[in-house]
Amino acid sequence: MSTRRHPARRHPARRYVLASLAVLAVAALTTACAGPAGAGASASASAAASAASTGAASRAPETLTVFAAASLKKTFTELATEFEAANPGVTVALNFAGSADLVTQITEGAPADVFASADTKNMAKLTDAGLVADAPTVFATNTLEIAVPPGNPAGVTSFADLANPATKVVICAAQVPCGTATTTIEKATGVTLTPVSEENAVTDVLGKVSSGEADAGLVYVTDIAGAGTSVLGIPFPESGSAVNSYPIGVVATSPHRDLGTLFADFVTGPTGQKVLAATGFGTP
């Protein structure tokens, strides 16, 4: 009896094994291709990728995949909702990460339709690779501000105060956009900082300050605006010497270039500008 049941059972089992093998093989291949991209970032990229492919299957409801700098998370989430409302049938899939990460993902073939960078340098990498359809448009600017924990325990009032060796200052590493801006200000003012840590992302700087580990940090005006009461912002006049420009561009390989251009125009248009201004971004 049991010998009879065996073959019948075996087939689906074998099919299942083969299916999982195929999945594994694909996973192995895509992992190899993803290369140095961060694990978290590539996970969200693949989520975006699957969203894009489901959209591509049926033509009428279109999915637009937007890769945007981490500092745009709040504004672009809001703008995506408004864009969807204004264009029925369109779904906007968002992928947020550091600009450099996103450039890596796009050059490795991630299915992005639109790219919004936190600086012109990273957008230039993509333009140089011939991956941007038209000349990118700057849609916002951002400047640095000093963030301190509530109560300002170290009594920081100016940029020069940050050079005090007793003050624990956290900044962005020179390799990332906010760090480049920090270096520019240091050069312009002649004040040399001795940070206790040089973080990879502006959000990490903010975290170190809001947790009270650091006495002060240099972050974007928009980060402080978005952090609520967990940090206190201290504007300083020298910040004007380093203004970060945010460009947006449509990816050349995108199958949704018209829709991408529509989204970019939406961001640079009145609605986009209103939302961006509300969170502290400057106008280009």
């Binding site: 992992t31 190899a32 961060g38 890596t104 390799q175 990332v176 990879n200 009270g212």
Partner: protein
């Protein structure tokens, strides 16, 4: 798989039962195992294919790369020592005694294995940080852990400790308590039993556990970034350096990643014996 291919050598060395087991592996299992091996090896091969060999030497010998590598080796050694110091007694207690809530204690000890490292970092920060549970105490004593190399070693020890405890505990359980019981009946005090019987018994597990802990510490990233920060020569270990270089210089990141892989593989192959894991 290597055993199956080197049939003659196995025949000479292994017991008859061992050979039967090796020969008895169904082909499809070998096939799936091969896919599994590929799953791990292929990404490494893919990464190696990206290495800019022409500039490899220059990329891995830059001052920041050397500083990161030395810091990584130093902190991983320190954290492994800390794991040995704390982990061996933990393993002995878990393997040799019975108490209420033992299962919960073990679950908690193994928690860092399943916790995302960034969560570990947050936990450490809220304990040893300036405003953490013990932060005030340390501040009074004049010890500042945040943003220091000590913080890096603590973060590494936190995530690596379970590897050592698991390995030593498994060895202790496998070896049984017979020798210790005999020593005790012959009049050896608990201290003597521990140093002369228990410890020598667990040496294989101790070695493989320490190697795993070292390798885990070497790769530690999330907890370090969250808890210790990132500053060249102080807290920026090799994984953090790779993460940072990737922003502007992907070639340097890939080259350093390969260095990390080589160091880890050398450490594992040189000292790791699966027998010790039992």
């Amino acid at each position: 798989m290597t055993r199956a291919s080197g049939g003659a050598a196995v025949f000479l060395r292994g017991t008859a039962r061992e050979n039967a087991e090796v020969l008895g592996v169904p082909r499809w299992i070998v096939a799936v195992a091969a896919v599994g091996a590929l799953f791990i090896v292929l990404p490494i091969v893919g990464m190696t294919a990206r290495v800019d060999w022409a500039n490899f030497g220059a990329l891995v010998t830059s001052p920041s790369a050397i500083a990161a590598l030395l810091l990584s080796l130093r902190t991983a050694t320190a954290s492994t020592a800390l794991c040995l110091l704390l982990g061996v007694p933990m393993a002995v207690v878990l393997a040799r005694s019975r108490f209420r809530g033992q299962r919960f204690v073990r679950a908690f000890v193994l928690l860092p294995l399943v916790l995302p490292p960034v969560v570990g970092g947050i936990a450490l920060l809220s304990t040893f940080g300036r405003r953490g549970l013990l932060g005030q105490t340390f501040e009074v004593l004049g010890i500042q852990i945040a943003f220091s190399t000590t913080a890096v070693a603590l973060a590494q020890a936190f995530v690596a400790l379970p590897f050592l405890v698991l390995s030593v505990e498994a060895t202790l359980r496998a070896s049984g308590a017979r020798y210790e019981a005999v020593a005790a009946t012959l009049g050896a005090a608990p201290n003597t039993v521990f140093w002369r019987v228990t410890l020598p018994l667990v040496v294989p597990g101790l070695v493989s556990g320490a190697v795993l802990a070292f390798a885990r510490a070497l790769g530690e990233f999330g907890a370090t970034l969250t808890f210790a920060g990132s500053l060249e020569g102080v807290t920026r270990t090799l994984p953090l350096e790779i993460y940072l270089q990737r922003e502007t210089d992907p070639d340097a990141a890939v080259a350093l990643a390969l260095v990390l892989v080589v160091v880890a593989v050398v450490v594992m192959v040189a000292t790791h014996r699966p027998r010790g894991l039992s």
